[in-house]
Every structure is written in C-alpha cells, then in structure tokens.
C-alpha cells in the first residue's frame, strides 16, 4: 500500500467572516484541523486618514480620529488634542480635563464590554453579548446626550471640550457606577467559572514577556505576561496621577489572563470614575485660551496614551502651519496584531478564533 497523497488546505478566513471583527482576512494553510501557516492580509479598510490629515487643520482632523478606533473614539480624540496641546503648551482648564477623563474611562468600560460580549459570542455563548450591549447602551446613551452621537463623538477640541455636560448628566454617571459594578460581578460569576469556557481559554495563545516586548505589544496583551506597563501609570497624562487605581497584571500570558485582566480593568475604570466624580470642580471653563488659528510651532512630537487596546500614539511633524506636515498614528491594534501569525502555528481552527478575539482588535484601527 503506497503512501496516500495529502495536500494542505488553503482556507480564507475573511474578509467577510462573523468573527474577524471587521473586514480582515487571514489566509490559513491547514493540515486537517491544524494550522501550519497563517498570513494576515489587511488594508480593506484603509481610508488614508494620514494623507487626508495633511490637508486639514487639527480641528478638522478630530472627526477622522473618531473613525479609526470606532469602538473607543474618545481616546482617539484625546490623543490628537493632547499632542497638539503639548506642542503648543496650551493649558486645559480643570473642568474640561475632568470631563475628558470621565468620558475616557467610560469609553474604556464600553469598549471592554463590547470586547467581552463579542468574544463570548465567538466562543459560542450567545447570551453575554446581549447583556454586554445592554449595559453599553447606558453608556452610549450618556454619550449621546453629551456630544450628540453614539459612536463617533467629535467631542474633544484642542484646548478643552466642545460643550459642558448637560445638567443632570453627571448624576446619571454617578448612578451608573454602582449599577455597573454589580453587573460586572454578576457577569464574572456567570462566565468565568464555566467549565466549558475555561477549557476553551486556558493555556491558549500563550507567550512570554520577552516576546511581548519584542513585538511591541501593549495594553492587556502586554500586561498579561506580567510586565507592569500602563501609560496611565508610567507616563501619566491628563489627571491620572491624582487618582488611586491598580493596574492589573497577569501571570501566564494566555487568553484567560487577558480575559481576566480586561474584566479587572473595567472595575478599575469604575473606581477611577468614582473618584473623578467626587473631585470634579463644580463649574469652570470648558475651553482654554486657544489662539484662533491652531498652529503648533514647527517641530515634531510623539505623544502616547493608554487606550483600551493598548498604546495609541500620535506623531506630529509640524511646519508651523494649521495643517500638520505629517501626522502618524501609532495604532495599538496594528502593532498587537503582528504576533498573530506566530501564535497560530500549530493551533486548530477553533483556537484561531479564540486567539484572534483575545488580542482585541478593531479593524478600523488596524488599517486607519
């Protein structure tokens, strides 16, 4: 009996696929159910934000930043505004900065809820998705009242925020915090101990700290290996140095640690929110002294903040004009995704979905 001829199966995951979280494609070579090689192909959502930015002044670029990481638009707004303010040496009034911090932390909770719901949906449990979106709905409604939009807020401006919070808004946020804390405990109890879930997630997609640093991972992807690196702590921006919060760090570097980390980050965000609401000044300006024409002096600058996905950075090269000469965004999903081909070799198709979901990407950000 001669050897049976076998071939590797070339399978295309995406660009239309329910679990790739956007228009994203992975070309997978399969040997049975084991992946021998995986090549991500991206660029389906490349909209040329950086090229467009060269013709727009900074206030006009802010709506474009919303659309990069559309699940976490407030942090995108912030990185651009913060970068310009640092270059120009502008001071942001206290109330505006508090408002910014509050919306950023609420955005972090909302983003992690989306991640949690969709991750569990990929794993097969369909109910947590609806629970997560129900709670996210509260946050999104609050943002709607604040800025007029549910997803792409265009709320921050260079020097402050566009509007002050409407009356009663802060009380609603205050009421939301204990509700969410209770819900997170409920979700944790519901899912985190489930046998099937644990067996699907533990030990999958493991890497160590050295690999993580070499690949430039950030956010929960880096901290799950034990590296203490959170830009809110290590390179404090905004008012984070005034609040007490923990930065959760994992041990094993697998998908389960990333999962637990992100849930813990929701709890810590709620903690920060609580403190911020207490310390917030009653009234105040929402916009600092900003010159009519926003022209950062000629030079360049790189500023990075901690978005729910990791380190988002903004590298501005300015020639002293209202438009940037070159605007480059360091997008966390783009950099985090690089480790995917390495992690997938030797895994099954099912684990591909688990690992990809655990990295938490938003394709709008991968492509920009």
């Amino acid at each position: 009996m001669g050897a049976i001829r076998t071939e590797e199966l070339l399978l295309n995951v995406g660009p239309q696929h329910p679990s790739t979280h956007g228009v994203f494609r992975i070309i997978v070579k399969l040997d049975g159910e084991i992946i021998t090689e995986a090549t991500p192909v991206m660029g389906y959502l490349h909209r040329g934000t950086e090229k467009l930015a060269e013709n727009l002044n900074f206030t006009q670029i802010i709506p474009y930043t919303d659309r990069m990481d559309y699940v976490s638009a407030m942090t995108n707004n912030y990185v651009l505004c913060h970068a310009v303010e640092k270059m120009m040496g502008l001071e942001v009034p206290e109330r505006a900065e508090f408002l910014r911090l509050i919306v950023m932390e609420m955005q972090r909770v909302a983003s992690h809820l989306v991640w949690w719901g969709t991750y569990l949906l990929d794993i097969g449990a369909m109910s947590p998705f609806l629970f997560a979106f129900r709670d996210r709905e509260t946050i999104v409604q609050l943002f709607n009242e604040l800025s007029g939009a549910r997803l792409t807020y265009n709320y921050m401006r260079v020097g402050g925020v566009k509007w002050d919070a409407p009356p009663g808004w802060l009380d609603k946020v205050r009421a939301f915090i204990p509700y969410m804390e209770k819900k997170i405990e409920e979700y944790d109890r519901l899912v985190s101990g489930n046998e099937i879930f644990l067996s699907r997630i533990q030990g999958i997609g493991r890497y160590d700290a050295e690999t993580a640093i070499r690949y430039g991972l950030s956010g929960a992807n880096l901290r799950c290996t034990g590296v203490q690196w959170d830009l809110r702590r290590n390179e404090p921006y905004s008012l984070y140095d005034r609040f007490e919060f923990d930065v959760p760090v994992g041990k094993n570097g697998d998908c389960y640690d990333r999962y637990l980390l992100r849930l813990e980050e929701i709890r810590q965000s709620l903690r920060i929110l609580r403190q911020a609401l207490e310390q917030m000044p009653e009234g105040g300006e929402t916009m600092g002294k900003v010159p009519r024409a926003i022209r950062p002096p000629a030079g360049e600058s790189y500023v990075a903040i901690e978005s729910p996905r990791g380190e988002i950075g903004c590298h501005i090269v300015s020639k002293g004009k209202a438009e940037p000469y070159r605007l480059k965004f360091r997008r966390p999903s783009f950099v985090n995704l690089q480790i995917l081909p390495k992690l997938l070799v030797g895994e099954t198709m099912t684990n591909l979905i688990t690992i990809l979901g655990g990295i938490d990407i938003v394709v709008g950000e991968v492509d920009a």
Binding site: G48, Y215, P297, E300, K319, K328
Partner: protein, 308 residues
C-alpha cells in the same frame, strides 16, 4: 468647522492690516515657511476654495519678504486665480525665501527669545541651530537670557557618547533634545550605522531600549526620514532615533531583526512612502493592493483618479 472659517477670515484680515505684527513676531516661522513654500504653493495650485488660494499665495509672498509687506503681495493676490501667477509667486517666494532665511536666522534668535512661539523652545529641526541649543551658553542672543539646557541633556550626551564609542565615531549626524516633543533626546544616525546603533540601543544595559514604540516615515521634500521611538521600560527613558535617506532611491537597513515590532511598521512605510528596507524578512505592500503603482503618502503622489 467654524474654526476653520475663522482661520481663513483671520488670515485675510491679517494680510490687509496686521502684516507687520505677524511678520515681526514670527520671523522664525517665516524662515520655516520658506522651507515649506514649495509645498504651500503646490497645495495652493490644487486647492479649490478661491479665498484659501488667495490667502496662501499672499501669505507666501508676505512671509517670504520677512519684515514688510510688499506690493507684490497685492499683485499676487489679484492674479491668484491664474496658474501662472501661482508659479510666479512660487519663484518669487523661493528667491526671497532664501534671502529671508539668512536674515531670519539672525533675527530668529531674538524673535524666539521674545517668546514668539508659545512653546518654550526654538524649533528643534534646524541642523545649524542644534549645536547652539546643545551648548546653550554660546547663544548670542543679547537681549534674552541664554537658553537653558534641557534637563535631559545629560541623558542625550551619555547616549551619544556610547554610540560614538561603540558603533562608530561619525555614526551620529546630529544629536539634540527635542524640547517641543516633551524633551525627547533625538539622535540622527547615518544610514550605514543604523543597524548597529539599533542593536546597541537594544542590548546595552545603560540604554536597554527593549521596547520600540513607533516607527514613522516622513517625506520631507528633499529627503526621506524614518523616526524610531524607543523606551526603556525599566527606567522610563525615551529616545528617538532618526535616519535619513535620499528621496530618489530611499534605502535603509531594517531593524526588524532587533525589534520585531518594526516588521509591519516598515512594511507600511515601504507601501506608503517607498522606502526600501534592506534585510526585512517580508517586504511587501500591506495596506494598498499588491499590484498598486506608486506610494500614496509621498508629497508628489498623483492620485489615480485626479478628481479625488
């Protein structure tokens, strides 16, 4: 959007009334404008709104002349809609810019010290000014106090010394602290030494930059530049490495073997700017389709569809 309209209106009003004040206070900016004049005029060519074109052309004319408004600016403004006038303004601006640059350099010291720009430093991109900034005390701005060295100057000097010692004596083209960019120590490395400098920064325990945060490519009209932002996670020290490549045939060494982060970043730079990275494991287009011609992020890129 209203801010933008105000911006345009402001410029128009300024061009008529407040040119002197603007020219005085921002002489250094004028010198920079001279650098960017070609781009501006190019942009003015392709820009649709007429008033913006007018203002840009006038601005170019005005700025390039430095201190005083010239009748040429009116002439340029009135004929702004004609393409020949644009090129005329361009040539004029180019000539005057060169003259203005020389004048502005001397004036800029005083202008910068008087706090024309709100940022606490003169723009850090000037090669000629860098040694002066580094030396600090040697600045010959008489009315202003000598510029204080940046608090991170020692960090920069230590790093520069290490590079000169362990890589090559003339590996560094320039070294300065980018005060505008939150005092980031920046070293411009000559391309042949880039790889070894990268390895030094990665491996040496005094530098220990195991984390590459960002790789950006910038297309300056005269050359291309790639900027690497590094951080030492243990101590929090940040560095920026730069490498310049010439524009007609940009080739640089890839740092992917040192930091894997650079892999896709360099692919993106290759795709959008056309810089070829030697030693990259898999250099192919990443955002654009594989059979795309041209590099979209370049300043002279003609879009496929001219109406876009």
């Amino acid at each position: 959007m209203s801010e933008h309209q105000e911006d345009t209106k402001d410029v128009t009003s300024r061009e008529t009334g407040e040119v002197e004040k603007k020219a005085e206070g921002e002489a250094s900016e004028a010198a920079d404008k001279a650098d960017g004049k070609v781009i501006e005029a190019d942009k003015a060519d392709s820009e649709a709104p007429v008033d913006k074109v007018q203002s840009e052309a006038a601005q170019v004319g005005v700025k390039a002349e430095g201190e005083a408004p010239a009748p040429a600016s009116e002439g340029a403004a009135s004929e702004a809609t004609a393409a020949e006038a644009e090129r005329e303004a361009k040539r004029q601006a180019a000539a005057e810019a060169r003259a203005a640059r020389a004048a502005a350099k001397a004036a800029a010291e005083a202008g910068g010290a008087e706090g024309g720009a709100p940022a606490p430093a003169a723009p850090a991109e000037r090669p000629a000014r860098a040694p002066r900034a580094a030396a600090g005390a040697a600045a010959d701005a008489a009315p202003a106090a000598p510029k204080e060295p940046s608090p991170l100057q020692p960090q920069l000097d230590a790093a520069a010394a290490l590079v000169r010692e362990l890589v090559d004596v003339d590996a560094i083209e320039e070294a300065y602290v980018n005060e505008l960019g939150s005092h980031m120590p920046t070293l411009v490395i000559r391309p042949p030494y880039l790889r070894r400098t990268a390895e030094l920064f990665h491996a040496h325990e005094a530098l220990g930059c195991s984390y590459l945060r960002n790789v950006s490519g910038v297309d300056y009209e005269t050359h291309m530049e790639v900027v690497y932002h590094l951080v030492n996670m243990a101590s929090g020290q940040r560095y920026a490495l730069k490498a310049r490549a010439d524009r007609s045939d940009p080739v640089l060494d890839s740092v992917t073997p040192v930091w894997e982060t650079a892999n896709w970043n360099e692919r993106e730079i290759y795709d959008l700017l056309g810089i070829h990275f030697k030693g990259h494991p898999d250099l192919r287009r990443i955002m654009m389709p594989d059979d795309w011609i041209g590099h979209p992020l370049r300043k002279d890129y003609e879009p496929l569809d001219p109406e876009v």
